[in-house]
Amino acid sequence: MIRIEKLHKSYPMGKDSLHVLKGINLHIKEGEFVSIMGSSGSGKSTLLNIVGLLDEHDEGNYFLNGQLIKNLNEKKAALLRNKFLGFVFQSFNLISYKTALENVALPLYYKGMNRKERLKVALDYLDKVGLKDWANHLPNELSGGQKQRVAIARALVTKPKVVLADEPTGALDSITSDSVMDLLKDINNEGMTVFVITHEEEVAAQTKRIVRLKDGLIISDELTKAVKAAKAV
């Protein structure tokens, strides 16, 4: 699903440039539940942004769903994001003047679906994350956990190939964190590829594969204990 070869990325910092990713090789297959671990500055967010087509890489190859990503203009990138990717952000990034339902329906608007249909689909997804009754509330009337669940519904509504989650539990307390992680697990169990970035061990432990980054390089890439145990049986 995602294949990355010798990926390099650096950011200009005044006269110098900051070399963030120094040759990453990573292959994520369809249906995987992968977490990227690393301290801040390890390059994990940069990696997610490149995978999510929010940013461009300098060197190396990136294949998304078998398609080589190179020289994308904004328009093509927007189409690919809409078609293949769903985003969940640490700060939720809901549009404040739109209701939960309208937020969830927004990607379908950009897909070109008509209003009646997209509101119906959006409501189904809100129901799936347990927020059907909150459909007509504005984001500031929802709790952090509820907001993140709306964001997850929005990420899923276009039936993407990959869900990218950037510190999805970063702004939540541990109980709501668990409920959000449960939701992501459910999604993964339904066959969706989920790609999570986190610096919390507990969160990473709930995924199936942990990739550790340090200073722009992968230092370890292994299946979690639970998965190993399941495989051993």
Binding site: K75, A78, F87, K111, N114
Partner: protein, 410 residues
């Protein structure tokens, strides 16, 4: 292309962000309001000027004589100059193709009596063309005609107020009145926009007056209407030439203004035209300045608004919005706001002008202040264009920000 979903997005965005929508609209509305008021008031001033000359025809010219102020060809200063039929006919033949209307005038003060009522009135003995030169409006009957001139008929046309004085509400037509001892037939009653004095006048045929009062061929003044096909400059040149020709013919020093002069409305018109032209130029300058200030105002607000919405645009792009859809949305919103606000300003301005229009006429010489449809159409085009520019430039920049940068914005 009508896209209901796009409009829904725009209305939602305007509705949920009322303050900033109202603020950006206000700048434009205010600019247009000022522009409308300014323009309306100046057009009102222009109307006043036009109506000030409304009493007489716009193309009127007068040949007037008085005493000589310069000696010439052995003739003394202080000689009284007298126009006669000779001069009248000379003008008529010499400049036939440059003249639309021509009439002599003899001034007379007369006592008019009807039954027991009598009063003194001013009288003008004239030719039929005088009706058009003075813009006399015939209420009843007729004006002096050619046959009256030929036959030296003892007929009289009286002003509305003379009729009121002598006849009250009763009919005056075809009644006989006593004018300085002779009996005259009333053949017409007129009114005039020139005011009460003009309506307390009486007209009689010039030939009748010459016969009855002195039995000579004297005339007091020659009134002309120059051919309206002449340009202002040509009309002025015509006036100057006629002045020189008449002075030469009547043995008057070529520069003797006092002895004989031609007063030409073309000169006044030219002056007024230039004055109004200058006034309009100032208004257009000030007005466009106001409009530009308004446009800059809305551009400023749009830049601020778009900065505020950068994150939202980042989210939309992450969800699959193309840059063009974001630019389109912002521009459409901006055009909508400017158009609505502009029209509110325009309507408010027009309404205010209509409201205060009447009260301004008396004290400030502003008559019927209004804006012309051309100005309205021009303003609309400016509004839509300004909305386009105000929205497009910052939106384009915002849409080109990488989503990752936009998402980081607060």
């Amino acid at each position: 292309m009508f896209d209901l979903d796009r409009w829904r997005e725009i209305f939602q965005s305007i509705n949920k962000n009322r303050l900033r929508s109202v603020m950006s609209g206000f700048t434009v509305a205010f600019a247009i309001l000022l522009f409308t008021l300014l323009f309306g008031i100046v057009s009102g001033l222009s109307n006043t000027f036009k109506s000030a000359f409304n009493d007489d025809a716009q193309n009127a010219m007068f040949v007037r004589v008085w005493k000589t102020s310069k000696p010439y060809k052995g003739l003394q200063t202080g000689r009284r100059v007298q126009l006669r039929n000779k001069e009248y006919n000379f003008v008529k033949e010499e400049y036939a193709n440059k003249i639309q209307y021509q009439s002599a005038r003899i001034y007379k003060n007369v006592a008019i009596k009807y039954k027991s009522k009598a009063d003194n009135y001013r009288l003008r003995a004239v030719h039929p063309d005088h009706q058009f030169l003075e813009k006399t409006i015939i209420d009843e009957g007729r004006y002096i005609n050619e046959r009256d001139i030929r036959e030296k008929s003892k007929v009289i046309v009286i002003g509305r107020l003379i009729k009121k004085d002598l006849f009250g509400e009763k009919n005056a037509m075809n009644k006989r009145v006593n004018v300085n001892g002779s009996s005259f037939l009333i053949v017409g009653v007129f009114s005039d926009e020139g005011g009460d004095n003009e309506e307390r006048q009486a007209y009689m045929p010039v030939s009748t007056a010459q016969m009855m009062y002195g039995n000579n061929d004297y005339i007091s003044q020659i009134n002309l209407g120059y051919n309206p096909d002449l340009s202002l400059d040509a009309a002025i040149a015509f006036g100057n030439k006629m002045e020189r020709d008449l002075r030469k013919k009547m043995n008057i020093h070529p520069d003797d203004q006092s002895a004989l002069s031609v007063r030409n409305m073309a000169e006044a018109n030219k002056g007024v035209g230039m004055f109004m032209g200058a006034l309009y130029a100032i208004v257009i300058l000030v007005g466009s300045g106001t409009l530009i200030a308004g446009i800059i105002g809305i551009s400023n607000i749009m830049i601020f608004v778009i900065k505020e919405r950068t994150k939202e645009f980042g989210i939309r792009k992450a969800l699959g919005a193309k840059p063009s859809s974001i630019v389109g949305m912002v521009v459409q919103e901006s055009v909508l706001i400017t158009t609505i606000a502009g029209y509110s300003g325009l309507s408010l301005g027009t309404y205010i002008l209509a409201l205060i229009g009447d009260s301004l006429e008396k004290d400030y010489f502003i008559k019927d202040p209004s804006v012309s449809p051309g100005i309205v159409i021009g303003a609309t085009i400016v509004l839509v264009l300004s909305g386009l520019i105000a929205g497009y430039v910052p939106a384009k920049r915002a849409a080109n920000i990488k989503p990752i940068v936009a998402l980081r914005a607060d």
